[in-house]
């Protein structure tokens, strides 16, 4: 049963004050933002909002002060994140940089890269996207074909990245690609820090099924990268990427994506819901409260430097199920025909939730891949 070490979550000192401060900030900042916008959760993009968060010190808040961080604990960061998500704050602009690109830079970057980029990320002024998936490389990340070849003064990149969220509004991509022979699936790959204004890079938006354009195809055609673009160690890309993905799992973003809909559901049901509705609400709350406890427990393990990969995968898998269930259960309780962009807020929120729910068990590792990771953790493979 060692796989299931979920120690009690830690309540960091000053947590209540920090939470109150964030709530106060969000109450003011989001006062005029309707639920139909807030339901976008961490897909909601607002560069001005990100800049304000940066001014407050709530981006890169665990990083060293010399790189623009605030040296707060991971548990304090957790409080800020969950408050942002529960309120439906538009965090997409800085989300990737804060969650994974920044920590990756901190771990693998050169002094120059860190000094150049981390303070700008923490200020909410420099946004990142992830260059992992490709047309023929989704869950099978080791199959990437994009390749960087050494030139006299750096690298030349050719290939295509896909599903690159907000590439069209990001300053940098962290590119994962091959740098030597294809025979060795995991070796021979590296990561690069790519300035997206360089020539030879074409970003084409792809509409999702709702018609929104947040992800992209990014094509590299003889794109020249300076030698200083290499991130970490040449040939160590696979290990770096696996470490980076570990930052992605088990956070509050893995179970709060449709929380704004649950809030609207409670509004719609009023103060005296039927017994059936009460049981459904209670059931969802029991799931969310337990997930939050498990997720905070994993945050505590991460803070201590443990490697709770299995627990993190379990939280993400359970979380996606609940996020997807909320719109399905809402429709059992409130008779409405969902419609994106409707003036009726419930209709609009429910519409957005339904149209986006499929992504919850795809992004950051599909449900099937996660369950494979869990099975491995159980000793089955």
């Amino acid at each position: 049963m060692s796989h299931f070490a979920f120690p009690p979550p830690i309540h960091p000192p000053g947590a209540d004050d920090l939470r109150a401060e964030v709530r106060q900030f969000l109450a003011e900042e989001l006062a005029s933002r309707p639920a139909s916008q807030r339901i976008k959760s961490w897909s909601g993009y607002d560069a001005d909002f990100s800049r304000k968060l940066g001014q407050r010190g709530w981006i890169g808040m665990t990083w060293p002060k010399e790189y623009g961080g605030r040296e707060r604990s991971a548990l304090e960061r957790y409080i800020v994140l969950e408050e942002l998500l529960a309120a439906g704050a538009p965090v997409a602009a800085h989300w990737i940089a804060d969650r994974q690109s920044g920590p990756l830079l901190l771990k693998e970057g050169t002094e120059e890269q860190k000094r150049h980029l981390l303070p700008r990320i923490a200020a909410g002024e420099c946004f990142f996207c992830i260059g992992m998936s490709e047309p023929d490389s989704g869950s099978d990340l080791a199959a990437v074909r994009t390749r960087a070849v050494r030139t006299q003064d750096g690298w030349r990149v050719n290939g295509t990245k896909l599903w690159t969220t907000y590439a069209h509004k990001s300053h940098y991509m962290i590119l994962y690609c091959r740098t030597s022979g294809v025979d060795d699936r995991h070796g021979g790959t590296s990561q690069f820090l790519v300035d997206l204004t360089l020539p030879g890079i074409t970003i084409r938006p792809i509409a999702d099924l709702s018609g929104e354009r947040h992800f992209n195809e990014v094509v590299f055609e003889d794109a020249p990268l300076p030698a200083s673009a290499l991130l970490g160690t040449e040939g160590n890309g696979w290990n770096q990427v696996m470490g980076e993905l570990a930052y992605e799992r088990s956070g509050p973003e893995r179970f709060l994506s449709t929380f704004v809909l649950l809030v609207e559901l409670i509004r719609a049901l009023g103060t005296d819901p039927s017994d059936q509705a009460l049981a459904v609400l209670g059931r969802l709350c029991s799931h969310l409260a337990v997930l939050r406890r498990l997720s905070r427990s994993v945050a505590g393990l991460l803070q201590e430097g443990a490697n709770p990969a299995l627990q993190a995968a379990l939280v993400k898998d359970l979380g996606a199920v609940v996020e997807q269930e909320i719109p399905e259960l809402a429709r059992q309780l409130v008779a409405t025909e969902p419609m994106l962009g409707s003036d009726d807020i419930f209709q609009a929120v429910q519409g957005y939730a339904i149209l986006n729910a499929p992504a919850f068990s795809l992004r950051g590792g599909t449900r099937e891949i996660l369950r494979g990771i869990i099975a491995r953790g159980l000793g089955l493979r």
């Binding site: 609400l281 029991s286 406890r293 359970l318 159980l378």
Partner: protein, 358 residues
């Protein structure tokens, strides 16, 4: 966890494993009370785990006491450890003498109520309760009732009440109590302020949640082990992706029972603090673990195949407990509605603040 707690945990885990042999579990199913097993449990002082040291108990923290309940549940040990721990805690809270042997608490169902009325220097206790766990075995039954604006605990000798025997799916005693009894004045005393009449239900539910988590974890271990050893089509069935996906699903539900049990155990520490008798964490824990229990049992049986469906294989000792315990001390729907009412009362603005108090 303190060093003492760790020693108690490790020693009791060994004891439970020693005691819960298949032969003894079959005998318990046949209705034979395992007095020798109980004596060993009692000798270790476990029934007093939740009683503060100054009241003559062991004074474990709630989470550690819940850990003992979970640990016993991993072996399906057929003794009323959880019930006696809770009965003794109620007695200690009320300042009444502790139980000498196995004990239990009532009511154990949401609708059941007893009435207490002063009669001369003593009390008249009247009422009934269904499905009281182990009542026919217990030496003492702690009955909680309201009178004169207070919540009181009454210490009742089983020999004075004659429970009507019943059983759950795992064939553990779940008995009917009909009480119409004169009690001396010193057999009844008030529980600490802030405690409500649903207190015994919340206590029982908190420990049933711990027991569900313990049984669930053991069922997962057994199922993974079986998937690795049973071969079909020339390889262990655990190598098939379809089986792996089921087991991963099960592991998620088992993790949820663990989180649920930890949340619920918080009530046992909190209720004696001012304003701490809020049953919400128990409601959340019991509802979540109860829901998980059914999925866990179903996948365990699916993976075990026909052998797991036999009386000879030990899986049923645990799955029958999962199917029983989830409906005891309030079923999922009972607790879900309680949570739902709290959410509706909190309203759209209060929902998130409510969640973050947990």
């Amino acid at each position: 966890m303190s060093e003492t707690s760790e020693i108690v945990r490790d020693m009791s885990a060994r004891l439970f494993a020693d005691l819960a042999t298949p032969a003894r579990l079959y005998k318990a199913e046949a209705g034979v009370w395992d007095q020798p097993a109980w004596d060993r449990v009692q000798m270790m002082g476990l029934p007093l785990a939740l009683v503060p040291e100054e009241a003559g108990g062991v004074g474990l923290e709630a989470a550690d006491a819940a850990g003992l309940v979970a640990s016993a549940a991993t072996t399906a040990l057929p003794v009323p450890l959880a019930e006696t721990m809770l009965a003794n805690r109620l007695l200690a809270d009320a300042g009444l003498p502790l139980a000498e042997g196995p004990a239990t608490l009532a009511p154990a169902r949401p609708g059941d109520r007893f009435t207490l009325e002063r009669r001369g220097a003593g009390w008249h206790l009247h009422g009934g309760a269904e499905r009281v766990p182990w009542a026919s075995i217990a030496g003492d039954i702690v009955i909680v009732a309201e009178a004169e604006g207070q919540v009181l605990a009454a210490r009742v000798a089983r020999s004075d009440v004659t429970p009507l025997p019943g059983r759950n799916l795992a064939l553990e005693p779940r008995d009917r109590l009909e009480v119409d009894l004169e009690l001396p004045g010193d057999a009844v005393a008030p529980l600490p302020a802030g405690i409500t009449i649903c207190h015994p239900l919340a206590l029982g539910a908190a420990f049933r949640t711990a027991a569900l988590a313990g049984a669930a974890a053991r069922v997962l271990d057994m199922t993974v082990a079986y998937a690795n050893e049973r071969s079909q089509f020339g390889r262990p069935i655990g190598k098939f992706q379809a089986v792996q996906q089921s087991l991963a699903l099960m592991a998620g539900q088992v993790a949820a029972t663990k989180g649920a049990a930890d949340l619920a155990a918080g009530y046992l520490d909190a209720y004696s603090q001012p304003g701490g008798a809020d049953p919400l964490p128990v409601a959340i824990g019991k509802a979540r673990a109860g829901e998980a229990a059914g999925m866990i049992a179903a996948i365990a049986h699916q993976v075990h195949g026909a052998i797991g469906f036999t009386h000879e294989h030990a899986l049923h000792f645990l799955t029958k407990r999962l199917w029983s315990w989830r409906d005891e001390f309030g079923n999922d729907a009972h607790w879900q509605r309680l949570i739902g009412r709290r959410m509706a009362a909190a309203g759209p603005k209060g929902l998130w603040p409510l969640l973050t108090t947990l």
